[in-house]
Structure formats: structure tokens, C-alpha cells
Symmetry: C2
């Protein structure tokens, strides 16, 4: 079976953009295409993720639209929507198509606009995104996603004694990283006090515990490993992609704090890669809220249950710590253009494993993982990437 | 390489439904599951299509939601949106996953609610669906899909002398078939005069040239052929799935009347199956408007360019004709719940090739195709299915 390799990666700045989705995505796509040194006529298929373009911008059937703008019309193009795990699911399908011999060279990416550049405020966008909550049981109660993750995190606090100050330290760590990422929406550091003194959004989350809605796009070229040396971009191996789900709504989950889909997806990804969590050098995880990072790093096995909350406060998950988490700044500081987030994590893994990220570089990194969840963690995709020997 | 086989198929009635999407889809899913005689714990993955649930019903992240309602939470679940080609694209990915050895037993389906049961009228739903037209170049001009297909069809009339009466005869033929389909939205016949006298919607289309928006769901079980005999449902082989795109917007297409993506998708599907269009015994095609059926049967090679318009009038595409098209009644009479249409075509192919459709049965059918387009034919998926020897 051919394995999948990333040979090109690119992303736009995350933050407000006034371009249409076609132009925004093309900016990322051509960075990836130029990085790979691939010509358009070599690309066999396009896997695209966008979560809310229909609701936020009256824009659907986006895969052929964006392909046309790039000059790729004709090839198979498909759009995925799995809430925030949208483009990592697109990535999974591209990897499977390459491994199955269906395609040799694929473009994968995501784009989303969520800022007031769309004409919609954060309140309206929060309501739109709440469509990922259960339609009959949760939406009528007014449950939006700060509340969803507050519930998950409150359970973790109850079980393990996690504190608001520990959560704030996750934000401080990710903002520290974000100041070294030129694409970050928030490229400045912060303090524990500033987080704790920011307005309460949904107990225990203050404003600074929450990632922003961003505009942005990201793209990667996924190719068959026997072609890897044909391209300009330094190849990085994709050795595992695990994808699992959990019950929706929240009331049907066996555990709120375990995020079972992440545990199952991580196990699948590690098994595919033939590694264990102990082999992981760094991780990009889905820190839509500070508490989500704590749940994630425990679920994927990087920290024992109940110890994740102390990891940032103890310095262990900083870029120069023993197990760096979100060196990109994560969703918290880098930003969160929903459908672009999954492949943006793959961009960061690619650049880290190439050793080209500068001040936020994880030293001697050979194995990295991405953890991208959708909705209330009803979907999780975990990807393992490794330096090519 | 294992081939993919359909061992179970089911669909709800198409027409108004007052159930939530979860319940509507579950009705179709359990028909397919019961038909296959598969147990839930044998199902490895769920591929789901829904086009407009976010815009029409504030409902996204549907794949794990619907899986939970059925009792399938945990497995990989993914949602596709490619306008009207949504669930045939989900089907393509399930077939590729089975052929690639990723999964052995998959549930594939689609569900959509588009009638006033959603609280939205046909005008509002038409505007929502126009999000599949180009956001910058077409939507601001007020171009909705009756107008899109009117433009494609007007070009065919200009090139080939196709008449409104010939188009009306397509509707008459599909309504004739629809009266034998107990699931059809419109289970009654009509006349050429009735079509031509119905109100003009978008020249040359009268109301009776247009398919309805329907509510409905459809589902199939796609499994690896080495497992085919393990299930109760009579297996039918999937021998080809072609998927191609064309430029969006309309102004960027090389030809309006050729629907190039259908030509390319058909060639790919026939090549995979090792057949030519002459081997096809019957077809389900995407007759969202009468003109669309004419373009489709020419594009997939069943009729020479310029001869498709006469096929229904001459009786050739009736169920007892030489090359039956849309024995189910097609979108025109069976109905068109957007995201459910693609897999509903697969349901019809399965039942026809099993010989179980009763009065609308195509005699001695061994090879059938489905043609499912998205948007302005910016996407087309063509599937070949064959009787198992």
C-alpha cells in the first residue's frame, strides 16, 4: 500500500479578511502549490472543508467553485462538513484515496469566514455555529458552544480539582506561542491575571479562555510516497489518521470529560503509525476553549487523566518544555476559521517536522500529532505525522 | 482489490414529512439494515449526505447526530455536501473505502427536508438552494435554479431544435412511471397539454417541467464483495463510480448544453466497469427539470447529441421502451429531497437489478446507471451497477 506524504503546505494569516471564499482559499492553495512545486495539471482531486458557508455567506457547492477559481475544474472535488473537524476529515479522505491508489496527487484544504467581515457579528455567528448542537434537545435550551465546553470542563474540575487559574495558564501559554507565529490572529502574549479578569462568558470560561472566530484558509498537497521526491517541497510522512465519533447530544455521552472519540481516534492513529503516545514529540490540539486543551491532551494519552490541567502552569507544554502543545498558538491565539482549522494543524505539523518554524520550533521533533474535534467532540480526527528518514 | 456490493436498500416515501431529520433518516436506514439483515455492530462507517440542513433547519454536524439516533455512534461518520450530488458523492467515498480495504461494511445515505413542513415556503427554499449558484456572479443577478437549467436547455433548443412539447413529454413519461412507485411524491400521470398549460416558471419551463422540493431519506448498505453472501439482501454489484466537475459559474463553462462533467464522469464509470453506453439497459438520471433529462441522456451516451429530446415523445425511454429512463419516476415524479436523491437512485438501481419493482420493472435488466448532478452540473457522479452472476 502506498503511504501518503505531505509535500506542500500553506496558510493565510488568520484574522479578518474581506475577500470572498474563492480568493481567500486560493491564497492558501497557491502557497501550498508553490511550496510543493506541483503544476495544476498534476493534481488529481480536491478535498475541501467548509463548515458554515451556507449559513454565514449563502455559499454552497463550494468545491467546484473554488476549484474553478484556482484553475482545477474538471477533477473530482468534494466538500466535507463535520463542524470544527471539517477539513481534517477532508484530509483523512485524501490520505485514504492516496493509500488506496485512487489518486496520486491531491489538494486538501479548508476556508471559512466568521468575523464581522461577513456582515455578521460574533453573536450571530455563535448562533449559526450552535447548529452543530443537537437541534431538538440542546438548541432550544440556548446552549451555544462556550456553554457546551463549559459543561465538559466543569465536569473535569469536579473530577480532578482543575482550577480557573490552571485554565488561564493554557491561554497564557498559547498566546506566548502565538506571538512567534506571523499568521496568528492574536500575535501577542497575555497574563494569567488578564485572563481571569476578562469578562465571564460561560462559567468557568472568561473571554480570554475562548478562541476567536477568524477568517482564514489553509491547504496541503498530499501525494503518494513513491512520488514524494518528484516535488520541490520537503516531504513529511502521514503515518496515521484516526477518526471516531461519540454520541450527540451531550446527555447521551457516557462521559463528558473523557471525550471518548478522541481516545478512540488516537488509539487508531497510533496503531496505524505503529507508535504509542510516548513517541509523540509535540501536538497541535483543538483548544477552542482552554478547557478543551486540557481534555484533549489527556484523551490522546500525552498526560495522565487529571494531570493535564497542570501541564501549562508547570511549563511542560511550552515550546521549550518536555512536551510542547500548540506551538502554533493553537486555536486560542492563532485563531479558528472553522473549516480551515484542521488542515492548518497539518500545515503546522509539516513545518515543525521540516524544522522551519523559527522561534516557535520544537527542537529535534520527529513525530507530531494533530487533534481536531467537531461539535461537542462528537467527532474527533487524530493525525500522526513523522519526519521522513 | 475487493469490489463493492449493495446488499441492502431502503427509502422513505418522498413528500411532506413532519419528522426531524434523525427520525426521517432512521426510517430509511432501518429499511436498508433490515433488508441486508446486518446487525448494527457489523457496520464499520457511515457516509451521509445532506445539502441544506444548516440553512433550512439550523442543523449541522449531522453525521454523528444521525448515527447516534440509529445507535451507531463511535464509528467514523462523515457528512458530504455537493449540492444535489451530495449523497452520490457519499456513496462514491463508501465504495472507495470498501475497495481500498478501509472498511468492510458501510451505511450510506442521505436525508433532506425541503417542503413547508420545515416552516419555509418554496420561494424561501429556492433562495436557499440558490446558494449553490455563484455567490458573486450569479446570485446577485437573481439567478435561481429554474433559471440555471432554463439557460442550459435554451441553448439545447437553439442548437438542436428541441421543443417545449418534447420537454413536456419527458414530464409525461416520468409521471407515467411515478404512478407505479409507491414512494413517489407525485404518484399520478399527466398529459402534454397539462404540462404546457401549467404556469410558466422560467422560459421554457412550465411548473410541470420542474421537479418538486420533497422531504425524504434513502439508504444503502455497501459491503465488500467477499462478504456479500453473508447477508440476507440479494447483492448487486457496483462496477463503476465516475465523478467529475465543470467550471462554476455558467459563464466559465466551455459549453452550456454538453454538461461536460457528465460526459467525463460517464466515461470514467464505464471504463471502471469495462462497459460502454451500449451495454446499459436502463438509467436513473437527474431530471430536476425536463430539460436536464434531455441533456443527461445525451451526455452519458445513451442517445446521440440532439436526439435526446425526442426519446420520450417516441416512447423509447418508457419502462417498456428500448432504453428506459427514470423508471422510478425520476426527480420529476418521485420527488427531490436534495441530499437523499443520489442514494435514492442507488436504491432504484438495486431493486431494478433484483427484479423486485413490480409494474415499473425493466424486463431483463442486467446493467443500470445512475446520473446525479450537483448545482449547474458543476458536479456529476455516474454509477454503474450490474446484476451479480
Amino acid at each position: 500500500m502506498p503511504r501518503a506524504v505531505v509535500v506542500g503546505a500553506g496558510m493565510t494569516d488568520f484574522g479578518p479578511h474581506d475577500q470572498p471564499l474563492e480568493e481567500l482559499f486560493a491564497d492558501a492553495a497557491f502557497l501550498a502549490i508553490d511550496d510543493a512545486g506541483v503544476s495544476l495539471d498534476e493534481i488529481d482531486a480536491f478535498y475541501f472543508g467548509n463548515a458554515m458557508g451556507g449559513q454565514a455567506e449563502d455559499d454552497t457547492h463550494l468545491a467546484p467553485k473554488l476549484a474553478t477559481h484556482i484553475g482545477l475544474q474538471g477533477i473530482p472535488c468534494q466538500r466535507f462538513e463535520d463542524a470544527c473537524a471539517t477539513s481534517s476529515n477532508a484530509f483523512k479522505h485524501a490520505v485514504q484515496a492516496v493509500e488506496g491508489g485512487v489518486h496520486d496527487v491531491t489538494l486538501v484544504g479548508g476556508a471559512e469566514r466568521c468575523t464581522p467581515e461577513t456582515g455578521l457579528g460574533t453573536g450571530e455567528m455563535t448562533k449559526i455555529f450552535a447548529s452543530a448542537a443537537h437541534r431538538q434537545y440542546e438548541q432550544p435550551a440556548g446552549l451555544t458552544f462556550p456553554g457546551v465546553f463549559a459543561l465538559l470542563t466543569k465536569r473535569h474540575m469536579h473530577e480532578h480539582g482543575t482550577t480557573e487559574a490552571q485554565l488561564a495558564d493554557v491561554a497564557v501559554k498559547n498566546h506566548y506561542h502565538g506571538q512567534f507565529n506571523p499568521h496568528a490572529h492574536f500575535g501577542r502574549d497575555t497574563t494569567t491575571e488578564a485572563v481571569l479578569e476578562s469578562p465571564l462568558v460561560a462559567d468557568p470560561f472568561h473571554l480570554m479562555d475562548c478562541c476567536p472566530f477568524s477568517d482564514g484558509a489553509s491547504a496541503v498537497l498530499v501525494v503518494s510516497d513513491d512520488l514524494a521526491e518528484n516535488f520541490d517541497g520537503e516531504p513529511v510522512n502521514v503515518t496515521g489518521v484516526g477518526h471516531r465519533t461519540d454520541a450527540v447530544p451531550l446527555a447521551d455521552k457516557v462521559s463528558l470529560s473523557a471525550t471518548q472519540s478522541a481516545r478512540d481516534a488516537a488509539r487508531e492513529a497510533y496503531d496505524q503509525a505503529g507508535i504509542s503516545s510516548e513517541d509523540v514529540d509535540f501536538a497541535e490540539v483543538h483548544d477552542c476553549f482552554t478547557g478543551a486543551e486540557v481534555l484533549a491532551i489527556e484523551a490522546v494519552g500525552l498526560f495522565e487523566d487529571g494531570t493535564g490541567a497542570r501541564a501549562a502552569a508547570d511549563g511542560r507544554t511550552y515550546v521549550d518544555g518536555e512536551l510542547p502543545v500548540n506551538p502554533s498558538g493553537g486555536l486560542k491565539a492563532k485563531g479558528h476559521p472553522i473549516g480551515a482549522t484542521g488542515t492548518a494543524q497539518i500545515v503546522e505539523l509539516t513545518e515543525q517536522l521540516r524544522g522551519t518554524t523559527g522561534r516557535r520550533q520544537v527542537e529535534d521533533a520527529t513525530t507530531g500529532i494533530a487533534h481536531n474535534l467537531g461539535g461537542d467532540a462528537g467527532t474527533t480526527v487524530v493525525t500522526v505525522m513523522e519526519e521522513r528518514e
